[in-house]
Amino acid sequence: MREFDLKIGCKKIVNGKARGKVLLFQKPLNFLGMVNTNTGEITNIEDRTETYQLRNRILVFPNSIGSSVGAYTIFSLKSNNVSPRGIICTNKVDITTASGCAISNIPLAFINKENYRKFIEAIEDHFNSNEIEILLDTEREIISVD
């Protein structure tokens, strides 16, 4: 098993372990409006024109907003095999994300401000922070950064 350099504490919301590259957003996401459940693509982020791929990533974002149906969007992503492997909320774990992950068995954690700061410090040295691989272990409530 590969060793990770830094371990950061988190709070378990949905149990599980997931390893993947980080997909980091600084602003909230509306799953229903922004996500294509067939492809796992996400668009309309922070007024950017780029499309991002959720599949196999560890999604790190503040919280979800907007439609209550977003919970089904998370479930559809999982059913279509294009979901993130794990999700970390950095502002609050909203009801949509919590319920969507609960029925999809997607590991979900919350990190507080202090640990989020450590997390950002750990990944900001890298040229492209979205290429960094992390291990999310919600059972042990630890995020390991490569």
Binding site: I65, S68, V69, A71, F75, F110
Partner: protein
């Protein structure tokens, strides 16, 4: 979160798979929101009905949970993809799958209201009652106007609450969290329902808390204005409640002036014109249909115009002759569905729409990829009707 022995048994599957899945959802939410316990709720409103939004996986989930699941409290249902009694030109596959979804909800014991304004068609519980409403405009309105207590629930959390009759005691369910710590100070004369919608969208996007204060607004007793405000807040953020505040109440504030209005409008208004006019996101109630009739003054629309309203409102309006009058003005009525995400208004049929709804505008733009001319009801009638 502490569970009672009975709740624990439910979670472990002793009372069937549906109840176990429902408790699994509630436990995750309890952990997420630091709830100490579950509390009883008296009414649930469930979203996640439109096949367009929940797809095959949502349908399979509902079929599975309806095998042994039953709702424990009165439960109303959000709109689906089309009008049950006026089948549109959609694929047979879509229609069949949509009907499978409605059958699953029916098996669960959910009342087939197909409405995003259940507060206008259901008999409401007493003020101060804990409820569980998934539709975002309904949750905001219930907390802010109807003195009911709900969090801004998700489709699945409301369903889980319907099946268990319970919800985690957290966030807006706790009285002290229903007092805003921050307020929006309105600096503008709000003249139309669109103005209220834009203010709501700005407030929801700006305030990252569950409850926001709003100062210096009036005329929110008119149905269209208060629904627009609530729908705007529900669309753009995670805020589930607003409270009107006095200007001099000491708390952190954010000003909403001409610049903020312009920026919000620029974000949502992506076209000068459109091919079809749509009203009804949230769906229109009796008061709004009457207002439409009053403003039209026997004029006719020069473009196709679709009005979305609950079947119950349609039937009531038909009895008093309102539907016939509005149909003569060129309005096409669609019940059971809503502007947002109906398969009737997509890129296949249209490139652009005209609406007065910020909620419709947001979802048409982001999800359906249509251009939107966003203007007030009065402006739409002025520009797109003739005698």
């Amino acid at each position: 979160m502490l569970l009672t022995r009975e709740e624990e048994k439910g979670l472990l599957g002793e009372y069937g798979n549906a109840l176990a899945a429902a408790y699994r959802i509630l436990v995750a939410i309890g952990e997420a929101t630091d709830a100490e316990k579950l509390v009883p709720i008296k009414w649930a409103h469930v979203s996640g009905v439109n096949y367009n939004t929940i797809g095959d996986s949502g349908l399979e989930f509902l079929k599975e949970i309806s095998r042994d699941g039953k709702v424990k409290v009165a439960t109303s249902l959000n709109p689906m993809g089309f009008d049950r009694e006026n089948l549109p030109d959609l694929s047979l596959e879509f229609i069949e799958k949509q009907m499978e979804i409605t059958r699953a909800y029916s098996k669960l014991g959910v009342t087939p209201t197909f409405s995003c304004i259940p507060y206008e068609i259901m008999s409401l519980p007493n003020e101060g009652t804990q409820v569980s409403l998934a539709e975002s405009n309904a949750a905001v309105l219930a907390n802010s106007y109807l003195n009911l207590i709900t969090n801004k629930e998700s489709a699945l959390s409301a369903l889980a609450s319907a099946i268990t009759g319970k919800s985690p005691y957290s966030d807006l369910r706790i009285e002290e969290n229903r007092n805003p710590k921050i307020k929006i100070v309105n600096e503008l004369d709000l003249e139309s329902e669109l103005d209220y919608g834009l203010l709501g969208y700005f407030a929801g996007k700006t305030i990252q808390r569950s409850c926001t204060g709003i100062c210096n607004i009036s005329n929110v007793t008119e149905a269209w204005n208060m629904k627009s405000l609530a729908a705007g807040i529900g669309t753009s953020g995670s805020c589930g409640m607003f409270r009107l505040q006095e200007l001099d109440t000491p708390m952190e504030k954010v000003n909403y002036g001409e610049r903020e209005r312009r920026e919000t409008l620029d974000e949502l208004n992506t076209s000068d014109d459109g091919q079809v006019i749509t009203f009804g996101s949230p769906q229109l109630g009796m008061e709004e249909l009457s207002k439409l009739q009053t403003l039209l003054q026997h004029k006719k629309f020069t473009k196709p115009c679709k009005v979305f309203c609950p079947k119950m409102v349609y039937c009531k309006a038909k009895k008093v002759g309102l539907i016939e009058t509005l149909q003569r003005a060129g309005i096409d009525f669609i019940s059971d569905a809503c502007t947002c995400l109906t398969p009737l208004i997509t890129k296949k049929n249209y490139d652009s729409i005209i609406t007065n709804s910020v909620k419709a505008s947001y979802y048409m733009k982001t999800s359906n990829k249509l251009s939107v001319a966003l203007m007030s009801l009065k402006s739409i009638i002025k520009k797109y009707t003739k005698s």
